[in-house]
Symmetry: C2
Subunit: 310 residues, 2 copies
Amino acid sequence: MSRTRAFVREMGLRDGLQSIKTIMPTATKLDWISREAACGVGEIEVASFVPAKLLPQMADAAQVVAGALANRALVVAALVPNMKGAQNAIAAGAMKLNYVMSVSESHNMANVRRPVAESLADFGHIVEFCKTLPEGKRPVVAGGLATAFGCTIEGPIREERSRELAAELAALGADEVIVADTVGYGNPAAVRRVFAGVRAEVGNLPVAAHFHDTRGVGLANVVAALDEGVVRFDASLGGLGGCPYAPGASGNIVMEDLVFLLESMGYDTGVDVARLIEVRRFVQASLAEEREQFHGAVARAGLPKNYIHA
Amino acid sequence: MSRTRAFVREMGLRDGLQSIKTIMPTATKLDWISREAACGVGEIEVASFVPAKLLPQMADAAQVVAGALANRALVVAALVPNMKGAQNAIAAGAMKLNYVMSVSESHNMANVRRPVAESLADFGHIVEFCKTLPEGKRPVVAGGLATAFGCTIEGPIREERSRELAAELAALGADEVIVADTVGYGNPAAVRRVFAGVRAEVGNLPVAAHFHDTRGVGLANVVAALDEGVVRFDASLGGLGGCPYAPGASGNIVMEDLVFLLESMGYDTGVDVARLIEVRRFVQASLAEEREQFHGAVARAGLPKNYIHA
């Protein structure tokens, strides 16, 4: 019996690096991307197209996208918050746009400085713009819903809201919907409800889960999402990154722990977890001053005795 | 609608303390027990009845059991590896015996120096001995199956073996069966299979899960066990303890993260997680030289905004 395929996507170069003080040199970013792609990670969000004055860590976004394209099998994705960002990402050669808007009105206002309705409309314009591009230049457009499980400004978020917004993104022509627990407020029961609702709205559209491990339940949320048929997960190597509101808290779920979990459960990620741990060491060595920002259990404990990569 | 009850049991005074170098004074142990019982934790494994020369941290086991009985609502449990330990624990006043044997033959030989069949027979003798006691002196007897998901000596363990041994423990008169992933080899898919099998064998007997978080999947395993109807979970405050085979690896799943997870999912643990974090700080302060042995996310990140203890 063939195994079910699961897809892991690296967020560390965007979600991780934007959360720490150090600015990683472009060449090191490209080295990281190549090494991780060589482990079998098929998609990497390599940068964010926001103004460099807001995020100096992302000032080299265009060069990183262009350089990352050298990894032939890799889907080179970029976060974009608006049409301007989308056009810049496309000009740089991004193969996938991860558009971000928040389910929480207050968080959307704080993050992208406009109401949710305006973000939705802009998403529609981006999809339309992409349709005008020749096929070989046309990126995959994913619609991301941040703060779907709660928000540091508003607290809990009405769960039905993610379902409604996912339906709108799908209607506007999204190629994928990403549901994100941006600040680690989710739990497996809520994850099941929200993903069941979203999947019911969007038909066969791929639905991805973006969890943070702020309160230790990130991988438990992965298991709950798997129960709802979700097989696309964002993570970052070593859980790099944190939360500006909680010093010492962890960021994205830990890539190597996620791969270990999925493989142990019989999913086929295509990723060699032992090699991934080597790449984590490389990234950690290149960010030696950010020691506190690395998390995860498998890298410390090692793989179990007689563990065989399937 | 009333919430489903879930039961959390503190292992740190046994599984945690036996894994670290420091010897905690008896008075500090009793202070810890009282503070944690006051948070609503209903059962604490306060000690292990093994020879003091093997585990100097447990040399005060009888005094700790006797002192812990001052906490009126608390189930004072003790780990026992054999009849001698059981008799000593009962003499000290233990209300519950957590008998330990391993599913792995090699691990049982290494840990309690006899074959699995002998451990099983001894369990039967302990149950018979307890039946001879007057009701007010008769402890609850739980049969624990260590290394159910794998073993650092043998590697993977045949999953059916836990089911077979659970059936034997039940037939011998166990009041509860505990299935333990002693070295953190489990994953949610295996957890579902093993607990489904064990529960099918033991009828209405309570089945408890004892997970370690060695590779980060401890709470994901909890969610999988909940799916199989398991509502009894062992944990330790701050995940205190480690693994002798993996320096820096975490020990039991983290009590405060477990309570946060269960409450977030709508289970009623009866435990106040905010107070639990205070107790963690107390324990951490009293083991200042064991800083590396504390784990967990909720204590670092804090509770979510507008979080209300149900």
